[in-house]
Subunit: 239 residues, 2 copies
């Protein structure tokens, strides 16, 4: 299996994903949120890139079973039901609902790989489940780290490294230079992920905004068997 | 001092370098070649992006003191005086000469940061000299790793990590997530750079083409005090 890693949402644009499975990662926090929402019974998650697009889609949806979530500058958008904290997406609120989500980095990364043969979302919480899925498919893979504001972000890189590490335990993997570096970073960090990411720009920003519990939640590994799988632009639960 | 790191020539395009010093790295082999040529007495090095551009500039230059170098697919270009091996650029051949060079990755990276306040070239051989220069200037810095065919390359990343490591020994440095990862990679690799880069795609390719001596030369650290500095599109020797 050949695995290519894109360090940012923007670099994902230039990769031909047409005959490959794309795995999009935004640990802080879009793909952690979407995985959690589906885990807690949401019927689907629809990522959109702008607030205007979220409002437009909402107007043509059944208001009884549609909710809106997302963030700008890490904070909840006025008039939306949820922010970008996975802890908000509780079963009592999301079960059976379709959720429209717009975030700064993750939804852009998803848009940038629309032409992939298949697309799934990964975070630290569902990494092993995603790896099991990829092993089963046995196709070439593009891992897209969403990054933060156009720049590489260590949290996503660590998750990419975890995927690569788990993959190579089960199948021969041919990876690129960035993949090599990130797998090593994961191996050196797995014993204490939170401590290993304390220098990460995005972690520092979320800590300064009081999102300590979000970070703890997002840095837990193997808590979910849910694989968010794209079908016609929406993500639904597999696994 | 704030230092931003771009992992590829392409990602350098999007960075506003206008009030910063740009440091372009292409260890294998463009910036190692240019540093060596200037070290061996070349009067200037002019990087151009295409073979046609190299021929056009050559036609308007004094043929008695102008030479052409560069590569396509790592090999010498027909009719050119030099390939992309730093070992070819001997003092007896290059002293006093202006050299037009076109390479696949490095010259693209240089083109992509033309708007920087100042631009210098770095490789492992002149890393300490470049750090001394940056400390003296005390301005914000953008380090652009050229990469290989649009992808991150470990050799350039390791050199960026070396620059960051040496900088932080001498001055407070605020770096980004990629810089953090690369500085750590350098620290773990400094004891045996060649061995640390054996998994690098570009290293494997050059080894398969018989460029073992080039690699040994390019992986030597602190052998040059030359800082190639851009002036009107050409690089001249400082230091």
């Amino acid at each position: 299996m050949r695995v290519q890693v894109a360090g940012t949402a923007q670099s994902g644009v230039k990769i031909d994903c047409s005959s490959r499975i794309a795995v999009v990662i935004d640990v802080l926090r879009a793909t952690s949120v979407m995985t959690t929402a589906l885990d807690n019974g949401a019927r689907s998650v629809l990522p959109v890139t702008t607030i205007e697009e979220a409002e437009t889609v909402f107007k043509t949806s059944d208001p009884a079973c549609t909710l809106k979530g997302g963030e700008r500058h890490a904070l909840k958008i006025d008039g939306f039901d949820f922010g970008n904290s996975p802890l908000e997406y509780k079963r009592a609120l999301v079960a059976g609902k379709d959720i429209i989500i717009t975030t700064t980095n993750g939804t852009n990364a998803i848009r940038n790989v629309q032409k992939a043969e298949m697309m799934v979302l990964a975070c630290l919480r569902n990494a092993s489940a995603v790896v099991g899925f990829l092993i089963g498919k046995n196709k070439d893979v593009v891992i897209v780290c969403s990054g933060t504001e156009g720049k590489f972000s260590m949290d996503d890189g660590l998750c990419a490294g975890m995927l690569l590490h788990l993959l190579k335990e089960k199948t021969p993997v041919e990876w690129d230079d960035l993949g090599f570096l990130l797998e090593r970073f994961y191996r050196n960090s797995a014993h204490d992920i939170f401590a290993s990411l304390l220098d990460c720009f995005h972690v520092k920003r979320l800590l300064s905004l009081g999102f300590h519990e979000d970070l703890k939640f997002c840095f837990q590994t193997d808590r979910s068997t849910c694989i968010p799988m794209e079908i016609d632009g929406r993500f639904v639960r597999m696994g």
